[in-house]
Structures are given as C-alpha cells and as structure tokens.
C-alpha cells in the first residue's frame, strides 16, 4: 500500500544575501490516513517551517512531499491550515468567513443551498452557530480559533494542518478546545498534523509524536507511538501509566538530550 502522506528527505534552506541558513535537514516522515501526528520541539527548531512546507506556503529546497502520490507544489484547500492566530478576515462575519472557503472549494460541485447547509454544518461542529453573524472582533479568542477550525474543516481537506492552534489561549479554553478537536477527529477521522510545544497536549491528542532536534539543520530526533486507546479522557489519563511514560519520554527528549540552545549555554 502506498503511504497517504510522505515527507521524503526534505531539506529547507533560506538564503538571505550571500548567507544560507539550513533550517531543516533530511526530514523523512510517513503518515497514514486518519492518523493524528504531533510535531514537538523547542522554538526555532523549524516545526512551523515544516508545516508550511506541507501546506505548500513555503517552497521545498530539496526532497519532496507526496500526498496520495501527488507532489505538493503549491498551497491548496486539500491541506487546510488552522493558523496560530486564527487569521479570520476581520471584515467578514463568522458565517461569511467559513462561507468564503465553502464557496471557493465547492463553488462548482454544490448548489447555493447545499453550500449554506455545509457552512452551517461546520459551524455546528465547533458549536459556533449562535455567533454566526458576529464579526471576529466581537467574539473571544477561543471562539475565533473554533471558527478557524470550522473554516479548515469546511474545505474537506485530506490533511488538516494545525499550527499551534491553542497556543494563544488560556489553559481552560485550551482544554475545552482540545476535547472538541478530539471529538471531531473521532467523528470525521481526519488526518491531522499538529505543531505544538505543549507536552501534555501532544500526548493527549496524538497517535504519534514527532520530536524535533534543535536548529539550525533540525531534523527528526525520535518518533514516539502513543499507544493509548481512544476515546481518551483527560481525567482518567492523568494517572494512566502509559500516558505518564509517554509524557516522561517526551520530556526527557526535550529537556535532557535536546535542551533549548539558550539553556545549554547557561
């Protein structure tokens, strides 16, 4: 069987003037359909760059990314991104933000009424139908991120890319939204790649955790399988030995073997 998403020996360098910086070196990763993969690492290790490469927002220097055997060359709705700062268009209502994506992706294949229903269906998935006519400025940060997720889901992407989606939220809102994402993942079976710097979040949500070494020339240090059955319950897991072991090994990777460069110097 051919892999669903294959990151094949990808390297990425940025050139500025005469100086070239290699951010990622020789990234090799295969992701199966329906898998939830987290990428974790210290800031500056190029995990966001990796996500942008998969999204097609940044061109690859060497290697290739294949999605269902098609090479990724440019951005597209089959790899929908939920951006860290929600990136809703502030002049469009919540409904219009999602509708813009629906109209663009399904403009030819669905009727007007079907597109409306599909927009409402996705707002309903993230429980945001009550605020559909509000502008992004009028809703809270957690709600904005929900709408961002609804917009991405509405594109029916093959891969959902989450770029530190809960990073800017307070702990309670974050936990609530993590539960929502878990429910949606269980229901729709999306393939998800999530960037995070939160160890608990990575262990709770992921099937596999990809741990990145420090940059420059960052690469995959280790991949951890999280063998926890789904559905996962936050409270029950807090004392589950498998959960604790997974958490420990990620922490050990991050803080023993690959400490942040600033900490090593200290």
């Amino acid at each position: 069987m051919t892999p669903f998403l294959k990151v094949d020996h990808v390297s990425k360098s940025f050139a500025r003037g005469n100086a070239t910086t290699e951010v990622l070196r020789d990234i090799d990763l295969t992701i199966a359909r329906g898998e939830y993969v987290s990428i974790i690492g210290h800031s500056g290790c190029g995990k966001s760059t990796l996500l942008n490469l998969v999204a097609g927002l940044t061109p690859i220097t060497t290697g290739a990314i294949l999605l269902e055997n098609q090479e990724v060359r440019e951005p597209g709705p089959d790899r929908a991104v939920v951006f860290q700062n929600h990136s809703l268009l502030p002049w469009l209502s919540v409904y219009a933000n999602v509708k813009l994506a629906v109209d663009k992706v399904f403009g030819n294949s669905k009727s007007r009424a079907e597109r409306h229903d599909w927009t409402m269906h996705n707002l309903d998935l993230v429980q945001m139908t009550h605020a559909k006519d509000k502008l992004p400025a009028e809703i809270s940060g957690g709600m904005k991120q929900r709408v961002g997720i609804a917009r991405a889901l509405a594109m029916e992407p093959k891969v959902l890319l989450l770029d530190e989606p809960f990073g800017a939220l307070d702990a309670l809102t974050r936990a609530h939204l993590q539960d929502s994402v878990m429910q949606i993942h269980a229901r729709l079976g999306n393939t998800v790649i999530m960037i995070t710097h939160d160890v608990d979040e990575a262990v709770l949500l992921s099937d596999r955790i990809v741990m990145m070494t420090n940059g420059p020339s960052a690469t995959i240090g280790e991949i951890l399988d999280v063998a926890l059955p789904r559905p996962r319950k936050r409270l029950e897991l807090s004392s589950d030995p498998t959960y604790l072991r997974a958490r420990e090994s990620v922490l050990k990777f991050l803080y023993e073997r690959h400490r942040a460069p600033s900490l090593q110097a200290a």
């Binding site: 999204a55 927002l57 951005p75 597209g76 929908a80 951006f83 002049w91 663009k104 400025a137």
Partner: protein, 320 residues
C-alpha cells in the same frame, strides 16, 4: 453685525427645545416605576433605570452640542467685530462686514437665483465646480486605487513606477493646465484633468502602502483557498487596505478642491473660481469675500463626507 445675530437665533431654539423635551420626559419616567410598585410583580423595577438616565443622557447631549456650537460663534463674532473696526475707516482697502452684507446680500441670502447666463447664485456656481471635481476625483479614485494596488502588490511595478510618481507628484496642479489645454483643446476637460492629476498621487501612494501592509496571514488564507487575482483584489486587498485608501481619498478630495478654484480662474466658465477672478476684474471685493466663505464651507463638507463614508466603510476592518 447682523449675520452673527441670525446664527445665534438659529441655534437658540434648538437647545431650548431639547431642554423642553427633557422636562416633559422626566415625569413620564416615574410612571412605570409607580405602576410596577403597585402590581405584585414588584421586581420589574428594571424597567425604570433605562428611562431616567435617558433624560440625563439627552441633557448631556444638549450640553455637549452647546459646548461645540457656542465657542466658535463667540470667536466668529469677535473676529467680525475686529474686522469691522479695522476696515471701517475711509482709507481701508478691504470692505468691512457691514459693507459686504449691503453689497452682496443677494449672493448671501439666495444661493440659487438665476438672473441671466453670467448672473447666477453662488450655489449654482459651486455646483458647476463640484461637477468637475466629482468627475476628476472619481476618475482619480478609480485609477489611483488600481495603480496603487499594482505598485503595492508587485515589486517590479514599484521599482519602475514609484520614482516617476515621486517626481510627478511634486508638479503643482496649475503647471499641468497649459499642457492639458493643448491636449484637450477645451476648457472643461482640461479643468477635469487638472483635478485628476492633482488628486491621484495621494490615492496611489496611500493605496500602495495599505496593500504592502496586508498581513501575511491574510495572504496565506488566500493562498490556501486558491483565490484568483480578482477574488484576492475584492475579498482581501480592498477591505484590508480600506483605511489607507480612505486616507488617500480624503487628502485627494481636499487637493481637488484647492486645485479647481485655481484652474477655473484660468479656464473661465461658470465655476466658483472664475467668479472670483471675474469679481476681482470688476472690483467687487464683497463678492469675493462671500465666495471665499462658500468655498471654505463646501471644502469642509467634502472632507467630512469622505471621512464619514470611510468611517462607515471600514467598520470592523481593524484586525484584533
């Protein structure tokens, strides 16, 4: 000294009436409170608070209006008084306000009279000038936004066009007039062209800055959605750059109004600019003063109109 009297009389009934309303309102406000107290559902007191502050609010509004209207009127009266005293002597070269009122009463009182092809009210002359400004400014707005979008979006367009724009925008409006007269061979299109070329630079430059400042996030969203150029222009560029565009439009309309008077002085016709030139040639200084007041007021209104439209159009476009 008569015109300030009229101004005060016009503003007085307004404040008096609103004060009257407040007095009428306050007894009414206590009625639902009393009714609620009598019935069993006494908790409906929530009814009363919004009404009592309403009267206070009206009073506050009246006060703030009062504070806005009264100081300029006092200053205006003082200025007119100083002017009257300064130019009241027999050797004064400019007419005092009382003489202006006597000379140009018809122009002040009725802006829209028509006594013949060259003897028409200043309101009608202003309309003619405004027509040219609307034409020239409208074309400048369309062309300016499109060119600004090009310069803001494309590095090569900016490198090629920006130096040329920076040089051309320093050319004074009237310097364009002879060459446009030569090109169009007619006064009216030449005046319109002068307005166009005067107003377009701030629109181009501000639009370009606005488009260069579109956050990368919005560009990423557009890229993921694969918006085409036209969709990107309408759905992302214009709304995102709207605050900048309206700043440019506001500067542009101000410059247009500055340029039209000068242009009409030279091209003739029935505009307000030519009226001033004509009045100067026939030594009607009082008419000139009245025309200046007209120009000032219309310019002020134009500026506020564009600002108001901009305010409405850019609601909610500020990123959070």
């Amino acid at each position: 000294m008569k015109s300030p009297d009229i101004l005060i009389k016009e503003s007085e009934p307004m404040t008096a009436q609103s004060a009257h309303n407040i007095i009428l309102d306050s007894p009414g406000a206590s009625v639902p409170l009393a009714a609620a107290a009598r019935s069993n559902e006494a908790q409906v007191i929530a009814f009363a608070p919004p009404r009592a502050p309403f009267a206070e609010r009206m009073w506050a509004v009246a006060q703030s209006w009062f504070a806005v209207i009264v100081p300029p009127i006092i200053v205006l009266c003082a200025l007119l008084l100083v002017w009257e005293l300064a130019s009241g002597g027999p050797k004064a070269s400019l007419p005092p306000p009382s003489k202006i009122w006597a000379d140009a009463k018809d122009l002040i009182v009725d802006p829209f009279f028509v006594n013949g092809p060259q003897d028409i009210g200043l309101g009608l002359r202003v309309m003619t000038s405004l027509e040219r400004v609307i034409m020239g400014f409208g074309l400048a707005a369309i062309a300016g936004i499109l060119l600004g979008a090009l310069v803001g979006q494309s590095v090569w367009a900016m490198r090629g066009l920006d130096p040329i724009f920076q040089v051309l925008r320093t050319v004074p409006p009237l310097a364009w007039l002879p060459i446009s007269l030569a090109a169009f061979r007619d006064a009216n299109p030449s005046a319109i062209f002068v307005i166009f070329i005067t107003a377009i630079w701030p629109i181009i430059i501000n639009t370009a800055v606005g488009i260069r400042n579109i956050p990368q996030d919005y560009r990423n969203v557009a890229a993921v959605l694969r918006l085409n150029h036209l969709e990107f222009f309408w759905r992302i560029m214009i709304p995102s750059a709207a605050p900048y565009i309206f700043t440019g439009l506001r500067i542009g309309i101000g410059l247009s109004w500055l340029a039209i008077v000068a242009a009409e002085m030279l091209t003739g016709g029935v505009g307000i600019g030519f009226f001033i030139w004509d009045a100067w040639n026939s030594s009607r200084l009082s008419d000139i003063v009245v025309a200046l007041v007209y120009i000032g007021i219309v310019g002020f209104v134009l500026d506020r109109m564009v600002a108001g439209i901009g305010h409405l159009a850019t609601r909610g476009t500020q990123a959070t």
